[in-house]
Each structure stands twice: as structure tokens, then as C-alpha cells.
């Protein structure tokens, strides 16, 4: 045990603290001037299809060993680079390394041209078109689909509304199903009711700063705690890089199309997915119509889509081959970081491999 009377121990501690202080100063200056931005979304990819602001990316791989291809459908609220955060901490990179042909449907940044976009645009137009593109490019008859956050809702609606869709399997991660359990964003929308336009920006969309505030306010003290953690570990280069990448993403939202926001208000009011009252393009949508192999993943520390919101899904899906994985983790933590690396990603890979073919 080191005591204060041990000169060597004291010297070591003083030396270590001086070293850390120097590193804190260096990293603090870098953060303040913004000179060291982490390289996010760096896995090599090509844009293989583009329509409006929407892009379909294909991640490069010389070693595709598993088919059919995997199409990831991202959320309408945030940016997709969370799935490809950093080298060595990238969900997409792991899937590519496992031998999958990975595609990602990114919605881009909506502007006034997207204010009239409805859920039908995404579910009945863009996703089917992207699925067709993936099949055309890869030559596969079917695709595996994976949705993240609100992208999961879009994937569910697609699978339920297009019962003959060429899906080999459907995996959804952190899926808001009980929309009345989501907290301020949806409760304020619900309270705004017919006056939901009061939340819109001049471009007719819900502005990103409002989306950000709605998520940030869920944990009012978290922002302060994050700063405290940063000050505490400012000497640690790896921590600072991860902090920049994660905080950068968590504060980097995109506008939500106004017409989708109006539909969301109706969905919240009737709790449409839970009560089986969802209507798209005049058709009633039943999650029980989803019959493909199905995996749902939720985090028990997810404050954005809590267990109470994502939990009801498994019982509503009609697939005979359906599975639920509840993990220790937050909203992004189920796909990024240690829990993801040890548990979520291997589970998803195993689930997909069992329902796919190995190519020679």
C-alpha cells in the first residue's frame, strides 16, 4: 500500500498527475478550438442509388460469404453514422467482417421539399425501391432487413403492409411500439394535438434542435454529468475521442418531416401499433401479418425508447420464428460499445447466419 511517507509513491503520483494535467490541457484546447474531430462513418462505401435526399449505400467488401444481402433501414430522427461510429467500434464494420453484403438506407437531411413526406412515402415507395435496388445489384431474390429506432417502425410497417415482400428475415433494434411511453417528444406532440404545426419550423418540418431538446430533456442532469465525466477523464485520449463521437451524434439530429409528425400525433393518440389501429394509404396494418423470421432487441437502460415502449412488440408480431433479446444497454449502447461488441452484434450475426446461406 502506498503511504504519504513513501517518497517513491509520492513522486509517482505527482508525476502521474502532472502528466495528466498536461494531457488535460492539450485535449481541452483541442476540444475548445475543435481541431480534433473524430473520423465517423469511415467504413468504405458507395452510393448505389439516390432519390431526393435519400441514398442507398453499399459497404465495400471483397469477402462476401453470406447471402442474402442485409439492408439496414435507418431512423428519421438522427444520423446514420452511429452504426459506423469509429474504426473498431462500428456495427457495420462487424457485419462486413462477418461476410455480409451490407446496404444502408440513409434518409439524408430533409428540407422544405420533404415537409409533405408521409409515412407511406417511406414504407410504400422508398423502402420497396431500395429493396428492388439491393436485389438488382446483388442478384439475390430476398434480403435480410434490419431497422434501427424509428427505422424499425418503418421496417415493421413495410413488412406488415407488403406481405409478399422478399424478406428472408427482419431484425429490429430499439423499436418504439407503445408510443405513449416515449416521454416529452411524443407527449408534447400529443398535447399540441391539432396545433402540432406550432412545433414546425418555417420549412414545415420539426426542427432538429427541438428533436434534440426533446431527447436531451429525458435525462435533465445527463448533460452536466457528461461534462463532469469529461473533465474527470480529459487526460484519456481514447475517452475524449469516444466522447466527441458519441456526443457529436447525440446532438446531431435531422428535421422530422411535418407530415410524418402529423401522422405521429394520430399514432400516439390511438397508440396505433399497440392497439392494432394503424392505417397506411387507407389500409389497416396488422403487425400480426409479419410472418418472416423475426428478432427484436431492446436495452433495459434505453431512456429514449424504454423497455415499456419496445417490450409489447414481440407478442404482436405473427412470426412463428420470433425472438427477443433484452440487453444491459442504452439506446445507442445496444449497437455501439462493449455490450454491443460482446452481446448484440454476435447475436444478430448468429440470427442472420442461421437464416442465410454461406456462399462458396
Amino acid at each position: 500500500m502506498t503511504t504519504f511517507l513513501d517518497p517513491k509513491g509520492v513522486a509517482d503520483r505527482v508525476g502521474r498527475e502532472l502528466g495528466r494535467t498536461a494531457l488535460r490541457a492539450r485535449n481541452g484546447i483541442r476540444l475548445a478550438v475543435g481541431s480534433s474531430r473524430p473520423d465517423v462513418g469511415a467504413t468504405d462505401k458507395d452510393v448505389v442509388w439516390r432519390h431526393g435526399r435519400t441514398e442507398l449505400w453499399r459497404y465495400r467488401s471483397d469477402d462476401v460469404r453470406i447471402g442474402p444481402p442485409l439492408l439496414i433501414v435507418f431512423s428519421l430522427f438522427s444520423r446514420s453514422y452511429i452504426l459506423d461510429l469509429q474504426k473498431g467500434n462500428s456495427f457495420v464494420e462487424r457485419l462486413v467482417d462477418a461476410g455480409f453484403d451490407v446496404y444502408l438506407l440513409d434518409w439524408g437531411v430533409p428540407d422544405e421539399r420533404d415537409a409533405a413526406n408521409r409515412l407511406e412515402d417511406y414504407v410504400d415507395d422508398y423502402i420497396p425501391a431500395a429493396v428492388d435496388q439491393v436485389r438488382r445489384i446483388s442478384g439475390a431474390e430476398q434480403v435480410n432487413m434490419l431497422g434501427y429506432c424509428f427505422g424499425s417502425v418503418l421496417s415493421l410497417l413495410y413488412a406488415a403492409h407488403h406481405r409478399t415482400a422478399p424478406l428472408r428475415s427482419l431484425t429490429v433494434v430499439t423499436t418504439p411500439v407503445d408510443l405513449q411511453q416515449l416521454g416529452p417528444l411524443t407527449s408534447v406532440m400529443d398535447a399540441a394535438g391539432t396545433d402540432v404545426e406550432s412545433l414546425f419550423d418555417t420549412d414545415g418540418n420539426v426542427p432538429p434542435h427541438l428533436v434534440h431538446k426533446a431527447f436531451q430533456i429525458l435525462k435533465p442532469t445527463t448533460r452536466i454529468t457528461q461534462y463532469v465525466d469529461l473533465v474527470d477523464r480529459l487526460w484519456d485520449d481514447d475517452y475524449v475521442t469516444s466522447y466527441q463521437a458519441m456526443i457529436g451524434w447525440a446532438t446531431d439530429h435531422v428535421p422530422l418531416p411535418g407530415a410524418v409528425a402529423r401522422q405521429l400525433v394520430d399514432m400516439i393518440r390511438t397508440n396505433a401499433l399497440v392497439n392494432d389501429t394503424m392505417v397506411l394509404a387507407g389500409d389497416r396494418i396488422h403487425l400480426s401479418d409479419i410472418t418472416v423470421p423475426f428478432l427484436t432487441i431492446l436495452g433495459n437502460r434505453d431512456h429514449i425508447v424504454p423497455e415499456s415502449s419496445a417490450g409489447p412488440l414481440i407478442d404482436r408480431v405473427g412470426s412463428p420464428d420470433k425472438h427477443e433479446l433484452r440487453l444491459e444497454g442504452g439506446h445507442a449502447g445496444v449497437l455501439v460499445g462493449r455490450t454491443a461488441a460482446k452481446k448484440t452484434v454476435p447475436t444478430i450475426i448468429e440470427f442472420l447466419i442461421q437464416r442465410s446461406e454461406r456462399r462458396s
Partner: protein, 104 residues
């Protein structure tokens, strides 16, 4: 040694005391209705100012910001229709090609 500085313990203690009631407040119906009311009032004030400014610009026969916004919205809606039509045509073409190649 835990590696945590001494000041961290009181902070964590305070955070544990403050966070749960704060979260309860922001998740309450009351908070939602107050926030919605604030947004509604802000919107009403903005609409009032915008309407007044529009009347001034219209007096001198010039378009106001609200006219441009309306125009943007109309162009946006038109853009959406064109995008949807293009997608439908592309898909019809793709399916036609597939059916053709299957018949062959």
C-alpha cells in the same frame, strides 16, 4: 484506489438526489401541456408578427416572407409528387424487365 477524484463523490450523490424528481417532472402530463402551450403562444406571436409584416409588404405590392414560405411548401409538395411518380415508373420498369427476363 478507485481512480475517482474526491470531488466526484459529492457530485454523484447530488446527481442521484436531483435526477429522479427532475425526470419525473419532464415526463409528466403537466410538463407536456405547459410545453405545448408555450409552443402555441410562440407560434401565435410569430403568426401575428408575420401577418403584420406581410400586410406592410403587400401595401407596396411586394411579396412577403410568408408568401415565399407558401411557395416553398407548394414546390415541396410538387417535388414530392414528382419523386413518387418517378419511383413508381422506375419500379414498374424494373418489374417489367424482371417479368420479361423470366418469360424468356
Amino acid at each position: 484506489m478507485t481512480g475517482l477524484p474526491r470531488w466526484r463523490t459529492p457530485y454523484d450523490l447530488a446527481e442521484r438526489l436531483v435526477a429522479p424528481p427532475a425526470e419525473k417532472v419532464v415526463r409528466s402530463d403537466r410538463f407536456a401541456s405547459v410545453a405545448a402551450t408555450v409552443f402555441g403562444i410562440r407560434r401565435a406571436v410569430e403568426d401575428g408578427v408575420t401577418g403584420l409584416a406581410a400586410r406592410v409588404w403587400h401595401l407596396v405590392n411586394l411579396p412577403a416572407g410568408s408568401d415565399l414560405q407558401r411557395l416553398h411548401a407548394q414546390i415541396g409538395a410538387l417535388d414530392r409528387e414528382v419523386r413518387r411518380l418517378t419511383l413508381h415508373l422506375e419500379q414498374r420498369g424494373d418489374h417489367g424487365d424482371r417479368a420479361g427476363s423470366e418469360q424468356r
